[in-house]
């Protein structure tokens, strides 16, 4: 508090001085009130401040307080009135909402009581003020310390609570962020085929639902490996797993980064290719994938040869693309490709429908 006093301009009276300004018997009670209510003010019959508690002096450190009309210092927001002493006295005992005029727009709560005869200026009143919820900003704006509040005031406890709440909220926020990170990782895992790192069936279904909802064109190529069973039979599961990973790598290489490559069964794959509506391009992509899958793959000193069959559909061939129907028809085209001798791609046409 002492350091604040040092900053106080010379023209502002030091807190104890105005006590003497209250005449007669009022002086002692004013000194008492300075301790009990450091933010009180005594008004005379015309509504001018004749005495103020030490904290009020601190708030008005840079401008005059004594001798100024109360309604010029504070905007009385409620109860509404003309700011006259008569209006103020009419609202005696009611909770007042005030705002300090000029400077920081600090809101205050207050209550006014008329002074009984002989206890201060004739026809005067006493107002006690408090910061209420604006205490956090006020403490900063006016450089207040614990001793600027009445010993019974809960202001310091409230400041403590605000800081404690912020610290606890910060800890909770950090926890939430970490949990969210863990959730994203878990979701990622739930959508991934662990062997190949490709998307799984669930991820593919979600993606296709989204594409149809957005009415985006796309192509579906359903691919089934040929002669894969022979790999497992001769090289065992390690060889089979190796081949599947190589297949996945080739499919990813042959598609764009925003296409989806999913493994939906043991040796069954689906490519979902965005923004495609040209059957020739779909055929090129499918044919290239098959061609690359036919290249020999080595594992543990052994060379394996597989191939693949593919069936495709285009969403633009449907009035209202339906994922289940598209998958079924891509499967029908794939069946046709197998039927015609494997190692080839067949696009779906309507007469395959009732296979």
């Amino acid at each position: 508090m002492t350091d604040m006093d040092a900053h106080k301009p010379a023209h502002t009276p030091a807190p104890p001085a105005p006590c003497a300004a209250t005449p007669g018997a009022g002086a002692e009670s004013a000194a008492m009130m300075d301790v009990l209510c450091p933010m009180h003010a005594v008004l005379d019959a015309t509504g001018h401040v004749v005495h103020a508690g030490p904290t009020l002096f601190k708030i008005f450190a840079t401008r005059p307080l004594i001798g100024v009309r109360f309604a010029e210092l504070f905007e009385i927001k409620r109860p509404r009135g003309d700011g006259s002493m008569r209006a103020l006295v009419d609202s005696a005992g009611q909770k007042m909402h005030l705002r300090i005029r000029g400077g920081a727009r600090t809101d205050l709560k207050g209550v006014l009581v008329p002074l009984p005869p002989g206890s201060g200026p004739e026809g005067g009143a006493m107002v006690n003020l408090s910061f209420g919820i604006s205490v956090v900003a006020a403490v900063r704006d006016f450089g207040l310390t614990g001793s600027d509040f009445a010993a019974t005031d809960l202001a310091v406890e409230m400041l403590y609570l605000v800081e404690a709440k912020n610290a606890a909220m910060e800890a909770s926020r950090t926890l939430n962020l970490r949990l969210q990170g863990a959730m994203v990782a878990a979701e990622e895992q739930a959508y991934t085929d662990t062997l190949t790192g490709l998307r799984n069936r669930r991820a593919l279904d979600c993606m296709l639902e989204r594409l149809t909802e957005l009415e985006q064109d796309f192509a579906l190529i359903h691919i089934d490996l040929d002669y894969f069973k022979a790999v497992n039979d001769t090289g065992g599961h390690p060889a089979g797993d190796h081949i599947l990973c190589e297949v996945a790598r080739i499919m990813v290489e042959e598609t764009r980064s925003d296409d989806t490559v999913a493994r939906i069964g043991g040796d069954e794959f689906v490519l979902a290719l965005k923004r495609l509506s040209d059957p020739a391009r779909v055929h090129d992509i499918a044919a290239r994938v098959i061609e690359r899958l036919q290249e020999p793959i080595s594992h543990a000193g052994q060379t394996y040869r597989i191939s693949a069959s593919a069936g495709s559909v285009l969403s633009c061939h449907y009035d209202r693309p339906n994922v289940a129907l598209m998958m079924k028809q891509a499967d029908a085209a794939l069946y046709e490709a197998k039927h015609r001798g494997r190692g080839r791609h067949i696009a779906f046409v309507s007469d395959m429908d009732d296979l």
């Binding site: 310390t145 609570l161 800081e163 912020n166 610290a167 606890a168 800890a171």
Partner: protein, 195 residues
């Protein structure tokens, strides 16, 4: 035990002895995690296992380590919010001592499921005080000793502190206040924004 307490131990070890030490302590405690979440609760014996592993790893008496932990809580820049919350106890070290009785209630205002040990201050006059620390977790008194030592420094007060051991189930800390304004302490501004 509340995660905040386990987390405090973790931060203390990480900031004082480094990440490697913390990993070794957690392995020594037989725990297969490396991080405590401050806002979750853990089994009571987890804290004890960590502390015993820590004493083993550092090859120092646990009481010394706990005292360092108390000092760390007040003086490490990363824990400035803790120092500030403690400084709300009063404008002088003497008033802070008088606010110790409220410490568990204050902590619960912030985090409702955080239970700190009951502290009771007894005043013998001429700057002599004793603090009864009743906790289900013996050793907490040593944390309080370290915390008070750092806070006295923070207030600029000169004190002598001594852990007098267990008496009737509570730890007794003797506080001898030699000068309440020995040196200028660190400033405490009620309205400061914390980072």
């Amino acid at each position: 035990m509340h995660g905040l307490i386990n987390r405090a131990i973790e931060r203390f070890v990480r900031d004082t002895y480094g990440r490697g030490a913390w990993g070794a302590v957690m392995r020594g405690a037989g725990l297969d995690m490396t991080e405590f979440e401050p806002m979750l609760s853990y089994e009571g014996d987890v804290t004890l296992r960590v502390l015993n592993a820590l004493a083993g790893h550092l090859d120092r008496p646990l009481s010394d380590i706990l005292e360092d932990l108390g000092t760390y809580l007040v003086s490490h820049p990363k824990l400035e919010p803790v120092r500030r919350l403690l400084r709300f106890g009063g404008p002088t070290f003497t008033e802070f001592l008088h606010s110790l009785d409220d410490l568990p209630a204050r902590a619960q205002l912030a985090v409702s499921d955080l239970h700190l040990p009951e502290l009771e201050l007894r005043e013998y006059g001429q700057g002599l005080y004793a603090i009864d620390c009743q906790s289900g977790a013996p050793g907490f008194g040593h944390v309080i000793v370290g915390l008070l030592r750092a806070l006295a420094d923070d207030y600029g007060a000169l004190v002598m502190l001594e852990h007098k051991g267990l008496r009737g189930g509570s730890e007794i800390i003797e506080v001898r206040l030699l000068s309440s304004e020995h040196a200028s302490g660190r400033s405490f501004d009620l309205g400061a924004r914390t980072a």
